[in-house]
């Protein structure tokens, strides 16, 4: 049995168990911490840095989704500093790739767009990288547009941990990181792909989408995925 401990979030005492992350405890206690890469039911990777929190006694900001709670911990989930850093994180996501909401299939149904609006990101203060990236339209039912990818790796995790196929991976490092499929082949040639579409449904942006949807039309059905993952014994 995990040991019951007690931590403080934003000054309030919240019950927790050893082994839980700050995010899990905060959510269970009704506290909002913004996330993008987090996908309930799969492992957490701390990729997007949206869930950063302040922990008393720690000199740096920590991602709530991967930081385990400790007895007596005091966490701040919302402060001017955190707001600023979260905005910077979102702005970096926009500047790294070519996100053009107006012509995107996921316009109005996009978690990145919604997060930017929620955090008050009205402009990007950093120069856009404008990388020249391709679109993999080879799959008969789905399409991968690297221009819209934020490298959250939800697709990688849902495919590996829920579907069990492990089609997706991340190649290269830093700014050159790319989602790849079966050792970097066109999607249609990925022999491990079961065409289940889970990656598409959990993708927070229009990077992975069903084919044939016009602008604004791609509405993801990710709630089912989360439930499915939970039933399979994944993380809650």
């Amino acid at each position: 049995m995990p040991e019951n401990i007690s931590i403080r979030i934003d000054g309030e005492y919240v019950p927790a168990q050893e082994g839980q992350t700050i995010l899990e405890v905060a959510r269970a206690g009704g506290k909002y911490i913004p996330t993008l890469c987090y996908l309930a039911g799969t492992s957490s990777v701390g990729a997007c840095r949206l869930c950063i929190v302040e922990v008393s006694g720690v000199g740096r900001l920590l991602p709530a989704c991967t930081t385990p709670v400790q007895d007596g911990m005091s966490v701040t989930t919302n402060s001017e500093k955190l707001k600023q850093y979260r905005k910077i994180a979102v702005e970096f996501l926009f500047s790294e790739r070519n996100h053009v909401c107006a012509v995107c299939v996921s316009n109005n149904h996009c978690e990145l767009q919604a997060m930017a609006q929620k955090l008050g990101v009205t402009s990007v203060r950093y120069p856009y990288a404008y990388p020249k990236l391709g679109v993999d339209v080879s799959h008969p039912r789905y399409v991968l547009d690297h221009n819209r990818c934020i490298l959250c790796t939800r697709c990688v995790r849902v495919c590996t941990e829920v579907e069990g196929a492990h089609v997706w991976d991340v190649s290269s490092r830093g700014i050159r990181s790319m989602i790849i499929c079966d050792m970097n082949r066109p999607w249609a040639q990925a022999s491990s792909c079961t065409n289940c579409g889970k990656c598409v449904q959990v993708c927070p942006t229009g990077a992975l989408a069903e084919k044939g949807f016009a602008v604004d039309e791609m509405v993801k059905k990710d709630h089912n995925m989360t439930r499915l993952a939970a039933r399979r014994g994944g993380h809650s």
Binding site: A102, V135, V137, A188, G212
Partner: protein, 471 residues
């Protein structure tokens, strides 16, 4: 030699510059119409899934996005090799008519009425929509109301007034709501009354512009436009038809997929706007015009009673083939009426509320061409895709492009007639701008342009010195 530069040309859509060359006696020797921006849509769409093209090409223009959406969606229909359901087609026609109404109202009332009602020689600081509101408030109100009427239909159908994502490959994405139909029908009589009053008023002021009518691009050219099987005006469907200056048939029944056999595109040295020409005749002699005036020259009838009555009077006044580009304004008003009549016909169609509005398919053809009449003329979208549906190549011929050679010729004619370098007045340059305005060019569309001011006129002397600029 001296040179006049109009830079930018104002009250047009997009950005352009006109150079007018004068000899030592102050007479015009040559003119150049430059479109100064490039936008690159044909290149940067390579690799995109074809079904994203309507939304992307719509971003070419904020005034006529519906036209771009439709031409692109038709090209996508061809790639999918599907026919949209009948109601899908009718709803596309309905939103297109609404766009014609708002676009023609914008061109006439907001952009050109200041010249026509306040005078070409009036104070440039006053010669704009605000001057119009001050001196002719009724006319300004009519313009605003007609634009609003068109825009509200678009909003009602598509839930967005600009760049609506409602038009999709295979049809439209939601059926028409009966409340929107009833509201629009209720507003139609008032809109029609405004349009009829405007054309009646316009006919009373035509006599003031005899000199402009005689010299505003009054050169015979061929004309091109879409017509239906009965020779009636078509904005959405129909086949392409060319008539020569005398009205003789040059070519007809040209489906979208055969456009390249008839239309060539020449790159120009000093403009980002290509110059389409009639291929069998060649460049630069194969000049033809498109747009409201060209359409009325090409069709036998409009197909709706009030517009046909006005068309008959138009032809009685000026003959069966009307060449003066000044009459683009007159033709635009006749079309405005036709648009309103057509909206009524479509809304009263028993099928219009059908829920079956979209056909779905994957790639069935590796090439597709979509052709429609935009408010400014024939608009062509041509795509080639790979078997997975990624765009490999795209060619867009946008309405204003077809008129490039004619606009150049018209600018020269107006400059030669009106500009006297020895006794120079601003109103002379305004007439040069106004002939461009008559075409209602959408230059940002036609070059597929980045942000700079609108059209600029520069007058240069023989030593290359800039004598005057306007804009």
């Amino acid at each position: 030699m001296r040179k006049l530069v109009i830079d930018p040309v104002t009250r047009i859509e997009g950005h352009a510059k006109i150079d007018i060359y004068l000899d030592d006696a102050g007479h015009v020797t040559d003119t150049h119409f430059h479109v100064t921006q490039v936008r690159g849509f044909e290149k940067f769409t390579e690799g995109r899934p074809f079904y994203e093209m309507p939304a992307i090409t719509a971003r070419i223009c904020g005034i006529c996005p519906v036209s771009h959406l439709l031409a692109s969606a038709k090209a996508c229909d061809a790639i999918m090799a599907v026919a949209p359901p009948p109601t899908g087609v009718k709803l596309r026609e309905l939103i297109h008519c609404a766009q014609f109404v708002q676009s023609h109202a914008l061109s006439f009332f907001h952009l050109s009425a200041p010249d026509l009602l306040l005078g070409f020689d009036s104070d440039p600081a006053h010669r704009n929509i605000f001057g119009l509101i001050e001196d002719h408030p009724e006319m300004a109100r009519a313009g605003v109301a007609l634009r609003k009427f068109g825009q509200e239909i678009i909003q009602g159908l598509a839930l967005e007034r600009v760049h609506p994502s409602w038009i999709v490959p295979g049809g439209v994405n939601t059926p028409l709501d009966s409340g929107v139909r009833d509201r629009t029908l209720a507003g139609l009589p008032a809109a029609r009354a405004l349009a009829e009053r405007t054309i009646a008023f316009f006919k009373t002021v035509l006599d003031r512009f005899e000199e402009e009518i005689a010299n505003f691009g009054n050169t015979p050219t061929m004309y091109a436009g879409l017509v239906d099987g009965g020779g009636g005006l078509q904005w959405y469907g129909g086949l392409l038809k060319f008539r020569d200056a005398a009205g003789a048939l040059v070519a007809s029944d040209i489906p979208a997929r055969d456009y390249a056999q008839y239309i060539g595109e020449a790159a120009m040295r000093d403009s980002y706007l290509k110059a389409p020409y009639y291929k069998p005749i060649g460049y630069p002699d194969g000049v033809y015009r498109v747009g409201p005036l060209a359409r009325l020259n090409v069709v036998d009838v409009c197909g709706t009673p009030v517009a046909d009555r006005e068309l008959a009077e138009f032809r009685q006044r000026y003959g069966p083939m009307v060449h003066s580009s000044f009459h683009f304004h007159y033709a635009r008003l006749i079309e405005l009426l036709h648009g309103l009549e057509k909206i009524e016909v479509l809304l009263n169609d028993p099928e219009i509320l059908s829920k079956h509005v979209r056909s779905r398919a994957n790639v069935n053809s590796l090439e597709g061409v979509g052709m429609i009449e935009a408010p400014r003329g024939v608009l062509i979208n041509h795509y080639k895709v790979d078997e997975e549906g990624a765009i490999k190549w795209a060619n867009l011929i946008v309405a204003t492009g077809h008129n490039n050679l004619a606009i150049n010729a018209s600018v020269k004619q107006v400059a030669e007639h009106f500009i006297d370098g020895e006794h120079f007045k601003e109103g002379m340059l305004n007439r040069v701008s106004a002939v461009v305005r008559a075409y209602d060019p959408c230059l940002s569309c036609s070059t597929h342009a980045n942000g700079m001011p609108a059209l600029q006129l520069v007058l240069r002397g023989p030593d290359g010195r800039v004598l005057s600029t306007e804009g």
